[in-house]
Every structure is written in structure tokens, then in C-alpha cells.
Symmetry: C2
Subunit: 153 residues, 2 copies
DNA sequence: ACAAAACAGGACGTCAATGTCCATTTTAAC
DNA sequence: GTTAAAATGGACATTGACGTCCTGTTTTGT
């Protein structure tokens, strides 16, 4: 239902949010999210072109979120890598249906709408709030404490 | 979001329901649903193996639904060709997460659950009831009237 | 028995998603 | 300036989804 790429993009963004505003390298993200580094690199480039993340080359560089985690929705991330395609016109091209979908496609589009709305209502920040659940991408629920800030000098 | 195969399977099933309990040939279904015949054939075989449709070889043969349209849900059809995979355990294999998903995967699974429930609540028969919308797969909304019953002799 | 209609199934082709690899460019530190 | 860290981009490999084709098998009507 959801592609690998969507899953990977969300993992990366959650990781970045968890470390914001510190920049993270592809290596760090790859290790933590268990996404193959070369592929992750492509996904991040894609997120960069769609203005979800910003990247900085060279020593001390890395990737950061463009928006604040509490202003970035999962829908924005999903739409950046694989847009949710709502059904607007009859896929069979039946002219008489026009803008009015038949019940089949109405139902399918309703499902898409539900997902779209749900994803639009969830910010990346909400996923770090651990409402009873475990912390994203971390083995130890309390691992947030020792956030490893990278020294620059 | 939904694969072509799912779309094709649903079109075929809706067409069969619209003509139930008369058997339809792959040719008829292919023409009406605009699904390439050889591929439709594979999809129907798949639906057959999953006991959604039954097929009859030879002259006068064709494909029919196993269940009554009002007892067949879209979920059953979807699950036959491409099962909705709910997220039950942490995709990263983090042991400490166990059965408790992190917020990210909770949200993704919630979306899957919504779609699953929605599809489970919709029967194929409901899609022929044309609640204000147009009739499935038919150019003319009133084309149902002249249902072309195939003569056997 | 024979012919025609119809499904079954295997082999093959194509393409996009996924994944890998390497050379290049940018940047900071020394 | 040199070096090392890091992203960029292009080329390539692999795999599964989608689609086609052909041969065989079943069934009915004559």
C-alpha cells in the first residue's frame, strides 16, 4: 500500500526532526533508520528538490529540515516523494460520468481522501511526543536523553 | 496508492455483479472494463484461486461470482489480489518496541486500518445502487435496462 | 467424432521501483 | 594549499508489476 520510498522518507524525516536543528549526515540517518545509504541518498535528494530538507556539503555538513517539525505534516513528506493521486475523473474515460464518479471510484477516492486528511493532520513533531508508545527509531525508549550533539571544534 | 491490478479486479467484479447470475466471458468483461484481455485473464484466474469467482470452460462458459453481490465486500476482492498488509511489528525490528508500534508506524497503520474498515463495510452490490452517482462501467446511466442476456440456443 | 468457444497456464517482453557504485564537487579544518 | 568530510549526479544491476502470446484443455452443439 505504501511504497518503500515513502517509508524511508518518513523514517529519515522523523530522525531529522528528532535531532533538529542539528544537521545529520546521510551516514547517521542511514544507520539509525536502517535504510541502505546509497538509496537513502537519492530519497534525500528528492526531499531536497521538494524543499522538505536542505543539505550542506563538506565537513560538518549534512541534512536539516527546512520547516520546524511542528509545522511539517506527514502529507507534505509523502507528497514530496510519491504524491497521493486522488481520483478526479472516471479512469475509464466515460464522458457521461464527467466529474461525477461512479460508486466504485467514489469509494476508492474516499479511501484516498481519508488517508490524505489523516496525514495532513499529523505533524512530524507529534510523532516524537511518544503518547504512550515507544520512541521512533530508538531501541531504548529513553534514549532521547543522551542526544549526541556533534562537536564542531 | 492502489495498484492497477486492484483497480482491474474491482472493475471485473463490479461488472460480474451487474450481470449476476449470468456468466460473462473474459472478452465481454475486457471490452466493458477496458482491461487488456490477456492480463484480465490472469487477474480472473487469481480471483478464481481465491474463491471470489468461479469459471466454466467451453462454449457458453464464462466467469461468475461465487458469492451474492450483497455478500461480497470490496475488501475481499482487494485482499484476494493484493492483501492489505497491516503493520503489526516494528519494521526496523527494534525489540524494545515489541508489539507497541512507534508513533510513525502507528499512524501509518491507522491509515491502513481506515481503508481496511471502509472497504470491509462496502459490498459490491452497493456499488450498483447508484446513489445519485453514475452507473459503474456504463456510458449511459440508464443502460442497465437493456441487459443483454446471452441466448443459449 | 468433430469443430468451435472458452478458460488455464507457461514463456516471454517491458518498464518503473529499488538498490548499488563511482567519479565529481563543495566545504571546513589544518 | 592540502586534505578529509560530505553531498551530488550519472551509470548500472536487480526485481517485481504489468502486459502479451501461444499452446493446451475442457465443454457444448452438431
Amino acid at each position: 500500500m505504501f511504497s518503500q520510498t515513502v517509508e524511508y522518507a518518513l523514517r529519515a524525516v522523523v530522525f531529522l526532526a528528532d535531532h533538529a536543528p542539528t544537521a545529520c549526515t546521510t551516514d547517521q540517518i542511514s544507520t539509525a533508520t536502517q535504510v541502505p545509504k546509497p538509496y537513502l541518498s537519492k530519497v534525500l535528494q528528492n526531499l531536497g528538490r521538494n524543499n522538505i530538507v536542505r543539505s550542506q556539503r563538506g565537513i560538518g555538513g549534512g541534512v536539516t529540515l527546512v520547516k520546524m517539525p511542528n509545522e511539517l505534516t506527514i502529507l507534505e513528506v509523502v507528497n514530496a516523494v510519491e504524491p497521493i493521486e486522488r481520483i478526479h475523473t472516471c479512469p475509464l474515460g466515460l464522458k457521461s460520468h464527467g466529474t461525477k464518479l461512479c460508486p466504485l471510484h467514489q469509494r476508492m477516492d474516499e479511501a484516498l481522501e481519508m488517508v490524505e486528511k489523516s496525514f495532513n493532520q499529523t505533524t512530524v513533531a507529534e510523532m516524537l511526543a511518544e503518547p504512550g508508545g515507544s520512541h521512533p527509531l530508538c531501541e531504548n525508549p529513553k534514549a532521547t536523553a543522551e542526544k549526541q550533539v556533534k562537536k564542531r571544534q
